[in-house]
């Protein structure tokens, strides 16, 4: 009941003046290849896929077979753990392949598109109905429409538990991780849909959602203005709901806040408004190895190769979906997942470093530290590759990771506690506050996989809790 009372209003944010929150820590990567605001319409791909990889805790259970006829919105797979998480078809046509990865884990269900795609019908909710509709029924509509997985719950970032009421629901319009679509691009012409979506979320959360934007002073912020209730300023990952929660929470009850990405609100709104499973996506394509980085309008499940087109510069390129810090390297035969709004092309950097490279002054070396000449004049754009730039060493207490950690964890001590099996100590250090932003691993001169250690420990803890 206490949580319900808390849910009445996003009270935890009222203490901040003018709805502006500053994050002093964090780090701005300034990766080269930032996508411009122009939007290119991509042609309809010949096939799309429902991706079952890169979905976090989801354990997919296949619900379709090869040769089956499906429409947009047909059920393709569900989550073994939680049957309410349904994953539906982003295209209408014939299932032409079901691909499995190692240990027969479902990778993707590929659909050869029909020239004319059919739509599965879903329940429509009129705007006027919203105020009176039962919250439970609204949630059931979203579950039935296969979009409940988009609403996620802190601290583990699994899908929200529909049986509970969140202390607060965050909507993040921006994502500062290189590179994600700009809100003014994906919101262009869809503002009323967004407003409808926010009203839906208000019903679900029992209170108006906290809508955050990071660049409210941007020149093109006209589309965003008025939507955001709070501005979060600062370096990456200032946009992250976990960071916002950490900066504002006062009691442990608030930890189970829900969140959703701005563009995903549009999907839910479209589902409820039109009664059709939404498939449109605005994706940003960028990175040092991408020619002409820009926004692309495509559809969920589009082949990554169709997104990159001929834009990959040269060979030896890594395709990263979902951002360079938290995202995953994807095969170029893969497809755009349900959550993914970003494709970054990075040079692999597999060739050994230059001769005595560690002695060079490094006028253009991308580094958080001040150990290169580049510290004097920080370059506006940093060309980075996937090289680890050094060998694995023991921690030398350089203290870079606690300096960048946006939620004041001491990663250098927390990871030692984890490796020593001291779960309680790791929790006391704030393991569950970790937003898995990846900055600790990024800046580590000993090249220790801090992010991996911390997030695996978090996942273990979550799965053991049941």
């Amino acid at each position: 009941m206490q949580r319900r009372a808390f849910g009445e209003a996003p009270r935890i944010l009222r203490q901040t003046t003018m709805g502006v929150i500053h994050l002093k820590k964090g780090y701005d990567l300034r990766l080269a290849g930032r996508p411009g605001p122009d939007l290119e319409e991509l042609p309809r791909p010949p096939r799309v896929a429902a991706v079952a990889e890169r979905l976090g805790f989801v354990k997919p259970r296949l619900a379709a077979k090869v040769g089956e006829r499906v429409s947009i919105g047909s059920l393709l797979f569900t989550d073994k753990r939680r049957p309410e998480l349904q994953f539906r078809s982003p295209g209408g046509g014939t299932v032409c392949a079901v691909n499995f990865g190692p240990r027969r884990r479902l990778q993707e269900v590929v659909i050869e598109l029909d020239p004319e795609e059919r739509h599965e019908p879903f329940e429509r909710i009129a705007a006027a109905e919203l105020e009176s509709i039962d919250r439970k029924r609204l949630i059931e509509c979203i579950i039935a429409g296969g979009l409940w997985a988009l609403i996620r719950e802190l601290p583990f970032r699994d899908a929200a538990r529909p049986g509970t009421v969140p202390p607060v629901l965050y909507v993040g319009l921006d994502n500062l991780e290189p590179f994600h679509p700009l809100p003014e691009v994906y919101l262009a012409g869809r503002r009323s849909l967004m407003e409808f979506g926010l009203r839906v979320l208000a019903r679900i959360a029992g209170a108006p959602p906290v809508v955050t934007a990071c660049r409210a002073d941007a020149a093109d912020a006209g589309t965003v203005n008025g939507l955001a209730s709070h501005t979060v300023r600062g370096n990456y990952p200032a946009h992250d709901p976990g960071v916002l929660l950490y900066r504002t929470k006062t009691t442990p009850e608030q930890n189970h806040a829900w969140f959703i990405a701005g563009q995903d609100v549009l999907l839910i709104a479209e589902l409820l408004q039109t009664g059709r499973y939404p498939i449109e996506r605005v994706v940003s394509l960028g990175g040092p190895a991408a020619a002409n980085p820009r926004h692309l309008r495509t559809r969920i499940g589009a082949p990554l190769a169709a997104l990159a087109g001929g834009r990959a510069l040269g060979g030896g390129i890594r395709w990263v979906t979902g951002g360079v810090l938290t995202g995953a390297a994807a095969s170029r035969e893969s497809f755009l997942g349900l959550f993914e709004k970003s494709l970054v092309l990075l040079p692999e950097g597999r060739e050994p470093g230059s001769f005595l490279g560690w002695m060079l002054p490094g006028a253009a070396a991308p580094s958080y530290s001040r150990t290169f000449l580049s510290a004097l004049r920080r370059p506006a754009e940093r060309a980075m590759d996937c090289s680890r730039h050094g060998g694995l060493r023991a921690c030398i207490q350089c203290n870079f990771c606690p300096q960048v950690c946006p939620v004041d964890i001491l990663p250098q001590l927390t990871y030692k506690a984890i490796l020593a099996g001291e779960v309680e100590e790791a929790l006391a250090h704030g393991l569950l506050d970790c937003v898995e932003c990846g900055l600790c691993s990024l800046v580590c001169p000993s090249k220790i996989e801090l992010l991996q250690t911390l997030s695996e420990a978090r996942a273990r803890f979550y799965e053991e809790m049941g």
Partner: protein, 394 residues
């Protein structure tokens, strides 16, 4: 293609799995990575990594130490010529210095590298660059007359007991270079203390010329019974400028306060040395020495009246604060603890210098002593910090 690159490419197969020298892989890897950064790429998120690695981090300390070597080589020869009654001509002076210092550096690196490579090979981990810093620091703290076998023994003790038995660089709680230095101090006092060891005699002499006092400024300060310490230094022929530039008999490279200041500034600017430790140290010298000044009454030893700046001018104080105390591994990790750590090192140094006639210089032992307390200081600050967190689990 670079011929060195070609050499590595052609020889790699002997050291990789199944090769003739498979066991020496980590030695090979270490040598190759000196010339070329490894071609490894990331396998997990984040996909990109910072350009800085431990090699460069440590290399910058060595860069800061190189001027000390240049100075040390000069000063060893210069003091030797003075003591031997020879004219202080530049090139002969440098020649004497090189002859004394270079063998010590070679022995230090050879022996230190041997131990590190042995442990790395047996334990199957990479050779950490912390070794090169320890080996660069160690000879600078020794008297120029130290026999080479003692140098070898000292660095062996420092690397093996001070570091490797705890798991290697990053897991040691004592500063390895200082551990080796302290070992020599206690094991071979005849060769590491007294007035005679700090000057190398040349031209077949067995005793310095009469006009030359071999006593270090620290020993003079401790021995002074009347008057003031600066007066005693002046009587012994050391002007304050000479003390600042380090032109007096002392360990090879630790005496030049000017270079310690520039080196410390450099390391603080590049972020390798934590300014908290250095400023905490300076603060500690000021506070403790000033406290002793106030405490001292008529009849107190002149050392109690010595002002903090003069404390920093002589002996290894500045060198210890700039390079030894700032070793990030053996220092505490938490920012607040680092202030306390620096302060306490300086305070203990001053107390040891002034009150303990057995130790003319206290900085080395003070650092080792505070190394032992670093985990406690960390623990205190971590606990305070964790108390402020809103817990996640009830």
């Amino acid at each position: 293609m670079n011929p060195i690159r070609r050499l590595f490419d052609s020889q790699r197969r002997h050291f990789s799995r199944g090769g003739r020298f498979e066991t020496l892989y980590f030695v090979y890897e270490n040598i190759e990575s000196v010339f070329f950064a490894p071609a490894d790429v990331t396998t997990t998120s984040p996909q990109v990594r910072d350009r800085l690695d431990v090699k460069r981090f440590m290399f910058l300390v060595i860069v800061a130490l190189l001027p000390h070597y240049a100075f040390g080589i000069f000063n060893v020869g210069y003091q030797s010529h003075r003591a031997s009654g020879l004219p202080p001509d530049f090139w002969p002076v440098v020649g004497v210095g090189l002859k004394a210092v270079v063998p010590m550096v070679i022995v230090t690196y050879a022996v230190g590298y041997f131990w590190e490579a042995l442990f790395a090979t047996v334990r199957k981990h990479e050779i950490s660059e912390g070794l090169f810093v320890s080996c660069a620091l160690f000879p600078l703290t020794l008297p120029p007359t130290q026999p080479l076998w003692q140098v070898a023994l000292g660095i062996s003790f420092g690397i093996v007991i001070g570091k490797e038995i705890f798991g290697g660089t990053g897991r040691n709680f004592l500063n390895p270079a200082l551990t080796g230095r302290a070992f020599l101090y206690f094991a071979y006092p005849a060769q590491t203390s007294g007035d005679t060891v700090w000057t190398l005699l040349a031209a077949g002499r067995t005793a310095p010329v009469d006009a030359f006092t071999g006593a270090t400024p620290l020993a003079i300060a401790q021995a002074a019974e009347t008057g003031t310490v600066p007066q005693a230094w002046a009587d012994a022929g050391y002007s304050l400028a000479e003390l600042f530039f380090g032109l007096y008999p002392d360990s090879i490279g630790a005496s030049c306060t000017l270079l310690c200041i520039t080196g410390a500034l450099f390391l603080m600017v590049v972020g390798v040395a934590d300014f908290r430790i250095i400023l905490g140290g300076i603060l500690g010298f000021c506070a403790t020495a000033t406290f002793l000044n106030l405490l001292a009454g008529p009849g107190s030893a002149p050392y109690l009246f010595l002002n903090p700046a003069h404390h920093l001018l002589v002996g290894g104080a500045a060198f210890g604060i700039a390079y030894m105390a700032t070793d990030p591994v053996s220092a505490p990790g938490m920012p607040g603890a680092r202030w306390v750590y620096g302060f306490m090192i300086a305070a203990l140094t001053v107390l040891m210098r002034v009150f303990n006639p057995a130790f003319p210089e206290g900085i080395g032992l003070a650092i080792l002593f505070m190394n032992c307390f670093a985990p406690l200081l960390d623990e205190i600050q971590v606990r305070i910090r964790l108390k402020k967190r809103v817990p996640n689990v009830r």
